[in-house]
Symmetry: C2
Subunit: 278 residues, 2 copies
């Protein structure tokens, strides 16, 4: 594995790629969720690039930019063991200049749910993802795939739209949510949870399980499912329980193979999200 | 020459490009200015693509979108005679969906001069240029150059910045302003001018000539040069006379090889711009 800390060096090494490239962008603090993306990229491509960049433009004021967990040595070890070819760790100065062109999320899909709760977050996320996609594919690989977890469902849908709107030559690969044995969806922010909070947090995945049971019993009415989910979420400060189609349009009735059930809430000071694609 | 009216067809034909590609994006109504870009692209590349697309997102309300001159047959003939390989004429529906990701021009460079006079114009221009660059280079040409006239100086500077900010693999080639024998900079909008207005309009290029004479006489003070230019522009409804460096930062004193002198104004109902790079 080569660790690359400059764009010049990145362009030097990606010049040598003579096959397909799989790319996994991350903010570091890698866990089993990231590892599963890297492993899938490894299986499906000749070359694998992982980036670690805690992107300042997607954090809002008062969010945990400074406190965001950093584990550089452990991250590098995980990547090396997973057979990553290039670990790209740029600095903020390489990625941004002072007065930049910005990207704005689409006005409907970008400003509901997470977009309401974290205004500007998606703009910054899309900005850095476009930069990273263009950087990694700068030397025109034979084929190019980028891997994103379904956990950040709205992010995934917006990135897919960006690629379509701007005709970016990359295949976006949605990857399954990875959970701990108790059902909690993996997140770098889970380390903020105390033992008691972690137990409470399980209500998120339990509420999704409840929803899936209801659907299996042929309960397709969205407001009924929401009510039942909220019962399970009683101990959580719920931000939203939403059922949307894969284009993030609100649903009244479940559409099989075209529904995402989303839940977001706070446990103590920690904000958590989870979802289920059915 | 192949005329291409769909993105699928564009991807089919660009797949066959096995060399360098030169691209000239236009809004049609081609004149000698466009032709000089096309000829330069022809000299410098194995393959030449010209696009004609009157991009709605860069027109403001009340501007001449509907009335923008259309000359499809003449345009195609000009391209064919100039040795263009692909003439790409997409529809609005191919280029845009309903709820799109937008691009915002940088807050300083994008919102002075033309940015003030035409708020939102640059956002729409950058949006379509990014789409077009990605479309034409989708099949990863060996090398890729895009040709833009210096006449739209601020546009050129912003596109150059976009390419840098988003790491787009294209070389932006700035091309000289083409003028009629009387000095008027060529523009598709010149056809709106009456005979009398056209005579008045010559003050724009004359004011720039006056500025260049002053600089040759070692007059480097910007406010003096502006005053002298305004004397020449007496019969024009001037919008601005500005002297900036190549990064579009305002200057107090001329910097040789790093100054653009810009003038914008109205003659009758027609808005005209001109500039000089020294």
């Amino acid at each position: 594995m080569v660790t690359v800390n400059s764009i010049e060096e990145l362009f030097e090494v990606t010049k040598l790629f003579n096959g397909s490239v799989g790319f996994v962008p991350t903010m570091g603090a890698l866990h089993e969720g990231h590892l599963s993306l890297i492993q899938q990229a490894r299986r499906e491509n000749d070359f694998v690039v992982v980036s670690i960049f805690v992107n300042p433009t997607q954090f809002l004021e008062g969010e945990d930019l400074e406190a965001y967990p950093k584990k550089e040595k452990a991250d590098a070890k995980i990547c090396e063991l997973a057979g990553v070819d290039i670990l790209f760790i740029p600095t903020i100065e390489m990625m941004y200049e002072r007065d930049e062109l910005k990207i704005t999320a689409p006005s409907i899909r970008g400003f509901i749910l997470e977009g309401t709760k974290r205004p500007g977050h998606f703009d910054g996320m899309l900005q850095v993802v476009m930069k990273l996609l263009n950087l990694i594919a700068y030397n025109k690989p034979k084929s190019f795939r980028a891997y994103f977890g379904k956990k950040d469902a709205q992010q995934l849908v917006l990135i897919t739209q960006m690629v379509k709107n701007y005709f970016i030559n990359v295949e976006i690969i949605p990857c399954p949510i990875i959970r701990d044995s108790d059902g909690l969806a993996l997140s770098s922010r889970n380390i903020y949870l105390s033992k008691e909070e972690r137990v409470k947090a399980l209500a998120l995945s339990r509420s999704l399980k409840r929803a899936s049971e209801l659907v299996m019993q042929k309960e397709f009415d969205v407001s009924t499912i929401q009510k039942e989910m909220l019962k399970v979420l009683i101990e959580i400060e719920v931000e939203y329980v939403a059922l949307v189609n894969h284009q993030f349009q609100a649903l009244k009735y479940i559409e099989l193979n075209n529904t995402i059930i989303l839940v977001a809430g706070r446990v103590g000071r920690t904000r958590l999200i989870d979802n289920l694609w059915i």
